[in-house]
Amino acid sequence: MSGETVSPPSQPTGGKRQSWAARLYLGQAGIKIHEWRRRLFVIAAALVVISLGSIAIRGFSFGIEFVGGNAFHVPAEVGTLIEVEEAVADAGAVVVSGQELGGSDPQYMIRTLELDSAETDRIRTELAERFGIDASQISDDRVSAAWGGQVTRQALIALSVFLALVIIYLIIRFEARAAIAAVTSLFLDIVVTAGLYSLIGFEVTPATVIGFLTIMGFGLYDAVVAFDKVHENTKDITASATDTYPEAANLAINQVLIRSINTSVVALLPVGALLFIGAGLLGAGTLKDLGLVLFIGMAVSFYSSLFFAAPLLIELKLRQPRFAAHTQRVLAKRAAQAAREARQREERTARGDAEPEPATRLTLDPALVELAGAAPKVGARPVHSRRSGRRRSSGARRG
């Protein structure tokens, strides 16, 4: 991802079109979320259906924290994994799985069905005796079945409280529709991440649940960054009749895209390191579980903040009479403008002038309309380049 966003420092000025990366860099990726709205909603709905379906049919594979059980960590220097598993079984535990963990000091992790404290202690002592090591070199972890439930219950409470706070905050910060859009996209993040976990069959542990809660923060973070720009671009939109709300919002998304990519990349890099060390070096445990869920969740929230939250916001805004009326007004003005242009063109055609631009393009492209008076615009140039030009001028107006 990072490679694509970086373009060579100097573009040949004579080139027909700049590379996609350079346009992205300049906020002109040509994304039209306001026009792709329906399609994006269908994609989101499909993702949700697949996720929910997988959760309903396949369910999750839960870690020992949810079913209860013990895990013993024995230094690998004592022998082979098989030997250690046998030793644990001989000591009276029911071995569920054995795994070798890497690192500079490799360990075997043996999982067993749940034992009580005294039993756990006895097994540790027996293992130590059998392998001639000190009992303090053996680590163990005993989790009751109720613990996972407890963690999950608390997580759900935290989730509800967080959502409530965030909705209030977003309503104060933006307004109710933005809050709805942001929170809905948060639900999408959560459902899709859960769905991926279910579909791929990653193990769900309390650390996963924790990570899940953190994703919410990130999902909103992304949405806030995007909405902030939308908010800024559309602040006084009803006062003028040049842009419709969807267009202005779309422009904001294009401008914010590179920032979102960067934000996501710099957030994903450390998490990737976490995942790399957790899964690659240690093989199991908190770091891996956290890293994995954060990685997946952040990637999902990157998508959803741009391609679900923003179109949803546009959709919701258009339900608002003020913006609906405004959009009508802008379109009407444009139609009138187009009609005028058409008349002029007919006059010109009558005079025998060449007219390279088809009329339909003019009615469809508002930027072109706006710029039509300033300079004769011709040829199929990317729409966004003109957008950026207009934005500059509007920025100057504001300043």
Binding site: E65, D141, A158, V161, V209, P270, I277, L287
Partner: protein, 670 residues
């Protein structure tokens, strides 16, 4: 909107604030704390048990109805557990309450197995023994016991009732008897019940019992326990055969049965009774049934007239000139008269009212017409269940259950078990002594059970973790390595993307790290914050947040410069706009961290704390370091050079595009 903030032109002032904060933090790092600390101690953040090895036990308060206990009760329990831990001689132990129903005990350093038992059930009740039953072999084979029969279940009917009992008497007198030896048999029941720690609500358990016990079985059970309901035409063997299903109930299910059934049904074994959830017989006003630790003797117990909270202290003592350990029991000023009354009652058994089993209320009823049985869930029935209906002052203890001297036994009941049932030898107006054939260790255990019996709650260990020192070091190394890789990747990326402006990020990451480190040391000393593996993960994730706020700022700056501003005017403008976004984003993250910290369970809290701390520090660094640095950089020529800064490149790209557009425009015009 375009107003320049007053501080924008004076980056020096903001840097000064940062310097001040740093100086204070590092001064605290170096010079706070006790005088005797070595430099390494001063400079080490407090590391959690998962990074240096150690033991952690998470205890969940178990209440009958599943509700959270009161804050007071939890705090009292925490203090008691803390004193237990300290009594073990463990250093650097940390006992904290978490959420509204958990206590976490952790000890860094060597794994400490003794910690596992600090939360062991200890709701102490003193109850007079009304009757006892020394295990009873059913007429036809052993009952098929679903919860796990320990096989050792007593068949020693012939043993004399009080032969095995300890005795309690005034502290001055000395008389001893053989005592019970430590329980091994009950461990089996423990293990067997371990898998079913989720035992469901009372309603669910009642439903399960209703499912397993047929109408016939219940009718037979009532016929056994209640002479009035007995049908003389059915012989005892048939009745006993009919109640066999009771042997298949689990401990938690047995717990919802009336005490009367628990005691009189021979198919309900001690293994089942000892597997009842903690707190099942906590109500002092109800009669109760409990077994001894060995799971041999089943006791029918009177209401509880002396509680654990009445005990001021208990010590294992070895009287001079003897080789027999005793337990000296002291009572609080409130508790002393209650204890005296109880001993008087035990000594004057002849004055007491004989126990009449029909007076013991129960909440099981049989429909007379259909013969179906059900639990009577009416409030009155629930209120009266297991209470003695007739208004009597003292209930007589049965002839079977008096000691050698013909006095009643008083059982010390810890949670669901009788830990000691000494015969009362005198009316005790002062301290009491329990004699028995104790080993030093047994005496210590019993004394500590009695001493800390005041624990207001019962706990179930939810998570017990011991980490060896080597594994801890391994985790620490892995965590730091992940942090280093994460940071390096971020720095590489920003250098690649923003060129030399990456220096600003590198600088602020270094400043953040130093501040974080100092904050960790200070917080570790000040509020006892320990850095755990999850905490390290939190800081790693926060690296992304720190870089994020830079990205937001920088992209803003890029927008401003492309609109044709000079760097000097663009920096403050971009700052004003970016600031709003940065604050919003950080507030959201902070909110998530705080909510997580306050409401979640387990290691999350370390993670949430780290995330929150790092977010606050990020805000500090953004305001007092990154922004002033950018302001100063904006005055340099290199700021806009495409080869040096990413900003210049943005400008160049933009210029190139405009030039091309112009060229195209001209082309058309031409």
């Amino acid at each position: 909107m375009a107003k320049t903030p007053p501080s924008a032109g004076r980056p020096g002032r903001q840097l000064l604030v940062l310097a001040l904060v740093s100086v204070i933090l590092f001064a605290l790092t170096f010079f706070s704390g006790t005088a005797g600390m070595s430099w390494t101690e001063r400079l080490m953040p407090r590391l959690g048990m998962d990074l240096v090895g150690g033991t952690r036990v998470t205890l969940l308060a178990a209440t009958e109805d599943g509700q959270a206990p009161s804050g007071d009760a939890l705090e009292r329990a925490r203090e008691i557990i803390e004193s237990r831990v300290n009594a073990l001689g463990v250093e650097e132990a940390e006992v904290v309450s978490e959420g509204d129903n958990r206590i976490v005990v952790s000890v860094a350093g060597e794994p400490e197995n003794a910690l596992r038992s600090v939360g062991d059930p200890a709701e102490l009740r003193f109850r007079k023994v009304l009757d006892q039953d020394f295990g009873w072999a059913p007429p036809t084979g052993a009952p098929d016991d679903g919860t796990g029969e320990d096989g050792e279940e007593g068949t020693d009917d012939e043993s004399e009732p009080a032969e095995d009992a300890e005795e309690a008497e005034p502290a001055e007198e000395a008389e001893e008897d053989t005592g019970g030896t430590g329980g091994q048999a009950d461990d089996q029941a423990d293990r067997d019940s371990a898998g079913s720690r989720e035992w469901g609500t009372v309603e669910e358990r009642r439903a399960a019992v209703r499912e397993k016990i047929s109408d016939e079985a219940m009718a037979a059970a009532l016929a056994i326990v209640d002479p009035n309901m007995a049908d003389p035409t059915v012989d005892t063997d048939a009745l006993l055969e009919a109640v066999r299903p009771f042997g298949e109930l689990t401990g938690p299910e047995v717990a919802v049965l009336p005490a009367k059934l628990q005691f009189y049904l021979p198919t309900i074994t001690c293994a089942q009774l000892n597997a009842r959830p903690a707190g099942s017989i906590a109500d002092p006003d109800e009669l109760a049934v409990a077994c001894d630790e060995e799971g041999i003797t089943k006791y029918l117990l009177d209401t509880s007239k002396v509680l654990g909270t009445d005990i001021a202290g208990a010590d294992a003592v070895l009287p001079a000139g003897t080789a027999r350990w005793e337990i000296a029991l002291r009572f609080t000023s409130d508790g002393q008269p209650k204890w005296t009354d109880l001993t008087r009652e035990a000594l004057n058994n002849h004055q007491a009212t004989p126990f009449d089993v029909t007076q013991l209320a129960m909440d099981v009823v049989i429909d007379e017409e259909t013969g179906e049985w059900r639990f009577d869930t009416s409030p009155e029935a629930a209120e009266q269940a297991n209470r003695y209906q007739a208004d009597v002052e003292w209930l007589q203890c049965g002839a079977q259950s008096v000691g050698n001297q013909g006095n009643c036994l008083v059982a010390a009941v810890l949670d669901n078990r009788v830990i000691s049932a000494p015969e009362i030898q005198a009316v005790i107006t002062g301290d009491a002594r329990i004699h028995g054939d104790f080993t030093a260790a047994e005496a210590q255990v019993l004394a500590s059970q009695l001493r800390f019996g005041a624990l207001p709650l019962t706990f179930e260990p939810q998570e017990e973790q011991t980490i060896s020192a080597t594994l801890g070091v391994e985790y620490l190394r892995a965590g730091l390595l992940a942090a280093a890789i994460g940071m390096a990747l971020v720095v590489l990326y920003v250098f690649f993307y923003y060129r030399l402006l990456g220096v600003v990020i590198l600088g602020s990451l270094i400043v953040s790290s130093l501040l974080t480190y100092a904050a960790l040391v200070v917080l570790g000393r000040g509020i006892g914050y320990t850095l755990t593996l999850a905490g390290i993960a939190g800081f790693i994730v926060a690296v992304g947040i720190a870089a994020d706020s830079f990205v937001i700022y920088f992209e803003r700056l890029k927008d401003e410069i492309r609109e044709g501003r000079t760097p000097r005017s663009a920096v403050p403008r971009a700052w004003i706009r970016a600031r709003r976004t940065i604050i919003t984003a950080n507030v959201v993250t902070l909110m998530a961290a705080v909510v997580l910290y306050l409401l979640s369970a387990g290691q999350v809290r370390g993670f949430a704390f780290a995330l929150g701390l790092a977010t606050v520090l990020d805000l500090l660094v953004v305001f007092t370091f990154r922004h002033p640095l950018m302001t100063m950089l904006a005055r340099t020529r290199a700021f806009l050079s495409p080869t040096v800064s990413g900003l210049g490149r943005a400008l160049e790209l933009d210029r190139a595009q405009r030039a091309r557009l112009r060229a195209q425009g001209k082309e058309v015009e031409a």
